[in-house]
Subunit: 378 residues, 4 copies
Amino acid sequence: VANNSFGKHFRITTWGESHGKAIGVVVDGCPARLELSEADINEELKRRAPGANAWVSPRKEEDRAEILSGLFEGETTGAPISIIIPNTNQDSSKYEPIKELYRPGHANYTYLKKYGIFDYRGGGRASARETACRVAAGAIAKKLLATQNIHVVAYLKGVGDMSVDMDMSVDLSDLPSVLKARNSSPLFCPDVLTENEIIRRVDRAKSEGDSLGGVVECITAGLPVGLGDPVYEKIEANLAKAMMSLPASKGVEFGCGFAAAAMRGSEHNDAFGVNGLLSNRSGGILGGITTGELLSLRVAFKPTSSIKKQQQTTDLQGNIREFTLPKGSRHDPCVAIRAVVVVEAMAALVLADAFLAAQLQPILQNACASYATSVPSL
Amino acid sequence: VANNSFGKHFRITTWGESHGKAIGVVVDGCPARLELSEADINEELKRRAPGANAWVSPRKEEDRAEILSGLFEGETTGAPISIIIPNTNQDSSKYEPIKELYRPGHANYTYLKKYGIFDYRGGGRASARETACRVAAGAIAKKLLATQNIHVVAYLKGVGDMSVDMDMSVDLSDLPSVLKARNSSPLFCPDVLTENEIIRRVDRAKSEGDSLGGVVECITAGLPVGLGDPVYEKIEANLAKAMMSLPASKGVEFGCGFAAAAMRGSEHNDAFGVNGLLSNRSGGILGGITTGELLSLRVAFKPTSSIKKQQQTTDLQGNIREFTLPKGSRHDPCVAIRAVVVVEAMAALVLADAFLAAQLQPILQNACASYATSVPSL
Amino acid sequence: VANNSFGKHFRITTWGESHGKAIGVVVDGCPARLELSEADINEELKRRAPGANAWVSPRKEEDRAEILSGLFEGETTGAPISIIIPNTNQDSSKYEPIKELYRPGHANYTYLKKYGIFDYRGGGRASARETACRVAAGAIAKKLLATQNIHVVAYLKGVGDMSVDMDMSVDLSDLPSVLKARNSSPLFCPDVLTENEIIRRVDRAKSEGDSLGGVVECITAGLPVGLGDPVYEKIEANLAKAMMSLPASKGVEFGCGFAAAAMRGSEHNDAFGVNGLLSNRSGGILGGITTGELLSLRVAFKPTSSIKKQQQTTDLQGNIREFTLPKGSRHDPCVAIRAVVVVEAMAALVLADAFLAAQLQPILQNACASYATSVPSL
Amino acid sequence: VANNSFGKHFRITTWGESHGKAIGVVVDGCPARLELSEADINEELKRRAPGANAWVSPRKEEDRAEILSGLFEGETTGAPISIIIPNTNQDSSKYEPIKELYRPGHANYTYLKKYGIFDYRGGGRASARETACRVAAGAIAKKLLATQNIHVVAYLKGVGDMSVDMDMSVDLSDLPSVLKARNSSPLFCPDVLTENEIIRRVDRAKSEGDSLGGVVECITAGLPVGLGDPVYEKIEANLAKAMMSLPASKGVEFGCGFAAAAMRGSEHNDAFGVNGLLSNRSGGILGGITTGELLSLRVAFKPTSSIKKQQQTTDLQGNIREFTLPKGSRHDPCVAIRAVVVVEAMAALVLADAFLAAQLQPILQNACASYATSVPSL
């Protein structure tokens, strides 16, 4: 069943396995005349790429995207944009020893049961490598949103019970500063104290052959009132789908999120003032439609499944076996770190789609408004 | 933009406003030959209906569904099933005093900005009344799943910081008992002690003109391995979209959910044993595909926006005004209670859709398997 | 499998059988603020209704549509518009004698094989009665298009080898006159001489217990350049799908159509002049996109399958039987006549959808054009 | 607006321009475990490739497809199959002289008006080169259908008023012979006498700097009863959409097609006999569902727009100009010839999609049938 496309108006189709020749994405529905270059995409890919520092996977993936179609003289043409990212650094041989084992926390179990076939080298479509394609497509979505002064910013909110506390109505009013701090952090964490503590924890887990979970927060600024289409294309519904389609994500929340379940209406409701809402506990959404305030969401990521510690498993025949990661395996000690870039990309894709969808309504309001005065001649 | 359909293979299209003549749903894609009657649907609607007890909205909605198409001699025919639920108990006049005001926590602000028009009587499409249609359609999905011995069970997990603690591998092994307890609870809460405490809190909030948020948990038993289609139609992605399309929902999580973000890989990974997984922290999902274990999710609902306490707002022209609910307004003190039935319905719709999608794969495996031996004659 | 929705942005979902309680349609995606009333819809339904004269089915179907949702104070609100048309004149008993027989030219054979169940009373979803819902929805699409001065006009082109010859660049320049002549014809045929000959032929076929096929032509005026999205949502691709989804249609062609296959390039190419194209052999489409000229298409309808003459068939068990229409059966001697109204509706639905889709592009061109001068502040 | 995907369950997304680096297609939804190799695809591409003989375009396109994903050990895995075909033989420079002119019969006019940008080198997305991707994807669809003994065969039916007369119930009973004759014909025309006459005509038109239109017929054998989903996913509706999405196609018809419009019901109806239908005027479809008989359709192609004869046009500013093809331009004298391969591919794509869709129904019939006896335990 076809399941590798996301989005309705601004639609992506991704393909490729972690250990094949390449991975790629086709972006369909991007309007014509947007300035675009390979550099725009590679800059984003570089942010996601492993090997950058001690707290992410030491793999060296080059991740250089090539645009194969959809551009003419530096601008989009309305035609589909095909992007290819060659796989250059995979080493399949090391997977040989575990090819007959179910990997704890991994999808080779469910893929094998569902499809009856699984490429044991790497994670196939379930590999986080697939998210590079989302980032490549997200770079285009971000560029489109930027033409409207809409900006999506994600950062590492926390790891374990440690987390950055941002007051959306105060700290984030200076989003450029947050962004700057985030960009200079190897962990995408805009608060130095938190960052240091997270580094300590990641280092410890790593040294113990273990991994950590984490939470990514994503803020969007500059949204107009009106994006999102109730009742089934609500903006948070599509954002939630986007986030839960990511590998390792286990939850998503908006505004006060789960904390709202412990609040009273008089505490949670945002009052209306002369210049819009006086607070933003709703996270920038009412009735599935953006309010024009900052849109905020958080995504929970489970700890990386691939750990050095020995674990129990079975082989494909059901015999009890010990599972040990192949020597030389390279994995992120905390997937939430690099997920920051992917969350940002997915949010941008959903918002670009919603932005396009919103064009259908205002235009027509005008058309119909002018209807009263223009009597059709026929 | 068309946004009132949900699902791909088992697809619903809902329509109707809280203060119009009726609401309804068209269910498209239900396979032929499923036994179905209006009673099947009305039984579910009755569970969601307000007026049942002191802790839900005192409105008396009859909510009797009529099936207008798609049946022949008590069975579905493969044709679309149109269900209509007349609106019988609405009183639009009481909304007159607030027709010019933005309602705190409500969607009339965003609807007005987006569409330039809003039926001030009731909540229009943003009304929780719309969810009756989801429940009606969900009744059919549940019936379809039941033919496969798949059962979806939701219950009120908690209100405020009070919550039922279910151990998925212990307490839920006796799902029929949980179900029985849930069914005999006016709050859909299967634990009597928790239920009593929740009742106390709801009573207090109500008496103070306030409202409460809450969390609904949903467990599905009997799922085969293999439902869900990575990478963008992962089972949790579609469940998340379904839940976040509900009025008042602010977050959704699967398995350990946000708690997973504070765990280590060695704690979170479920080991494989001779008879499948030895634990179920993943919530029954690996790589977006069901593992065959209990599928578990939780949805956070914000406190009801409509409260008796006075709140600040503005009128449509931006003048500061006090907002007071019209006299005689009837609202749920805690939307999470009745949401239990709706969460169950939405989960059933997603799973029925995924179940149908899964038919595409196994059949063909067989076809292709038999390919080797059957040489095409042409 | 869900198959009762048509269109992407302006989407309809139809339901109902010819012998059920009602039929209906949900129109989703109509922009807000379009003036609309039940009269708008009933006027179109009346044109399609049988019983109008001697050359269509003598059934008396009242076909009065009721709008159940989506309107407020005479305007659309952006919410789905649910329309219901009660079935008032069906007599199911007369189908008893043929309930065990395959009907020549009919779909009860394929429905039974596919679904394992068929409501032998009437034609179920395969009944031409279903097209009333398309006409109801088409009425809204036509109203939307009229706000843009786009007008869709279909007429009976011919029956047998007799057909009206319209020169698109001459006769149709006076489309209002054509329209007037069409509207005053009981056969929707704008040419009186042709009409008279067609009447003679229909009368003869009818008296012999037989039926006739026919061709409907559909012209759209006022289209801007730019509707249609290559490569798979070309305007003619979606129009072809729409027309071939109609009962009894067997072919569709655009511009010169099949005659183009017998032409040379030098004859067929339309030259460009100072004010657009100098001829219109392409039928108003180049590369799947409207050229701004009249869009023209023709649909071939087979002769009505239900005829009084005796035919050979088998019963459901495969025994040879004679098939005779039940006494009192009422059928159109030539389905192409009433199909005129349905072709018009389907064309309007496709064009309204394409019109909405086209809003996604120009808006953004402007946005991107203005991008150069507006430097994003972040 | 996203428009480069086709199909619902077996879905393709194509990309690439005639003068870019490459073209390609992503096939999504192909079931796992289908044997597949690059040779399977290249064999089909070779049939479509120009340069084969004197009656098609003399361009030398190598058209060697590379499969970049979705395979493991020679079998599909359920993951998307990405196919890339490098562009190797394009010469963009020769388009310089006509970059400022609207090309008669071409889409650069409408593309420029719609998107505000057009790659004047070649035809961009409107180029027939795009159809190579359809053929590549169609090769997989054909392989899938072959596992079910379903075979799609297209051939050149006619050019001008000359055409092969096939009696579907007689000549096509020996489809393998037809296929053999077709395969040995440079024009894909299975009748030698017709072929010779067509060659004479094409030669004459070519020598006069002109082009010819033509008709392609497509027959599918081995279909089960039951493919196609009324009312909007009728098999002929999707086939019509597929065919009218092809460059240069102007009409499509099924069974007797337009000739049916001149027939009487008693002539057109196919009677039922002991072993199915006694004739096949319906073309293998009743009520939008396959009958199990041969499915037949015909597509009309206009004459190639690119001709050597001088034509009138204007430049982008609206000044009258003479249009002459650039020296060395290489075009097919009759696009219908190579279109044979593309029609076959598109039919295969639609039928593979319908075949998958049909899996949703029978499985469930069994499930529901077994429902009566299996009482749910909960």
